[in-house]
């Protein structure tokens, strides 16, 4: 008992069971997150829900281990760049539609790039957009957790 308290005080009170469980479940959570994004056309799901799941996987890492570990798996700079690219994918596709001569966000005009059925392009356009949303939401969720848990210091989490 004394030993455990000393461990906890030194910050070494890591829980082996917890960490192993997280290590095992994180890949499956990520896989499920990807499934939710990709399968949003046919089942409940979509970019936001899947993005939150992907973000939760990294947050779980930060909770079970510590904040630096999650930063090692997902560096801060990569996070910021991916969050911006997620937002840029959405707005970029929207603007691309306008630049190609259609309306803003009119995915069917993208047939001028790759000639497939315009209605199929609508379905595909929604998919691309959802990927952008998922990317953005994942990064923002993790970034929100980092800042909240460490009070902006980014050194140690909860």
């Amino acid at each position: 008992m004394k030993n455990l308290q000393a461990l906890a005080q030194n910050g070494g009170g890591d829980n082996l069971i917890l960490q192993t469980t997280i290590r095992l479940t994180v890949p499956f959570i990520q896989l499920f997150g990807l499934y939710v994004i990709v399968h949003g056309h046919y089942s409940p799901g979509g970019g936001f829900q899947g993005g939150v799941l992907l973000g939760a996987a990294f947050i779980l890492l930060a909770l079970g281990y510590d904040l630096p570990t999650s930063k090692r798996f997902f560096p801060v700079r990569t996070n910021a760049i991916l969050a911006n690219s997620g937002a840029l994918i959405f707005t970029g596709i929207a603007t691309l539609c306008a630049l190609l001569g259609g309306y803003f966000l009119d995915y069917s005009i993208l047939t001028r790039l790759i000639p497939i059925d315009p209605i199929e392009w609508r379905s595909l356009g929604i998919f691309f957009v959802e990927v952008g949303v998922g990317l953005g939401v994942m990064c923002i969720m993790l970034s929100l957790y980092w800042d909240m848990a460490s009070g902006g210091q980014m050194e140690e989490g909860l």
Binding site: Y42, S43, P44, G46, F48, L144, D147, M148, G151, G152
Partner: protein, 130 residues
């Protein structure tokens, strides 16, 4: 009296949402603790989400995910599918509410660093003294 009861039963969803919303609204304007205000805000927004989702309900309606072949053939019965629009709107509203909560929590952390407390009265005391 009976008719009053009938009205309440026919529209009980509105009663539930209004009561929930009043709880949140009171917490937002009546409580003196900043975190409680924030929680009240969340209850308020949840009540509105409840209101919207209950608008799209249909007796005997199923989920708004159709069979693609049937839908392309025009064989979908409108009465059997609930209204998808409120769900779409509330997805947006949920995200907005999450964002506002996030920003508010960050601001609260700044306030706590500045004053060492989240009780409004104590903060006002400290401002008044300085």
């Amino acid at each position: 009296m009976e008719s009053m009861l009938g009205v309440v039963v026919a529209k009980y969803n509105y009663w539930i949402y209004v009561v929930l919303m009043m709880i949140g609204f009171y917490a937002m304007i009546g409580k003196r603790n900043l975190v409680k205000k924030l929680l009240g805000m969340n209850i308020f927004q949840t009540a509105i989400i409840l209101f919207y989702v209950s608008m799209g309900a249909k007796r005997g309606g199923g989920i708004p995910i159709l069979d693609k072949e049937a839908a392309l053939a025009g064989a979908v019965k409108v009465a059997e599918v609930v209204n998808p629009l409120p769900h779409v709107l509330m997805l947006t509203a949920i995200v907005v509410s999450v964002s506002v909560t996030g920003v508010a929590l960050a601001v609260l952390q700044r306030i706590y660093k500045e004053y060492g407390t989240l009780e409004e009265d104590e903060i006002l005391d400290k401002i008044g003294r300085s």
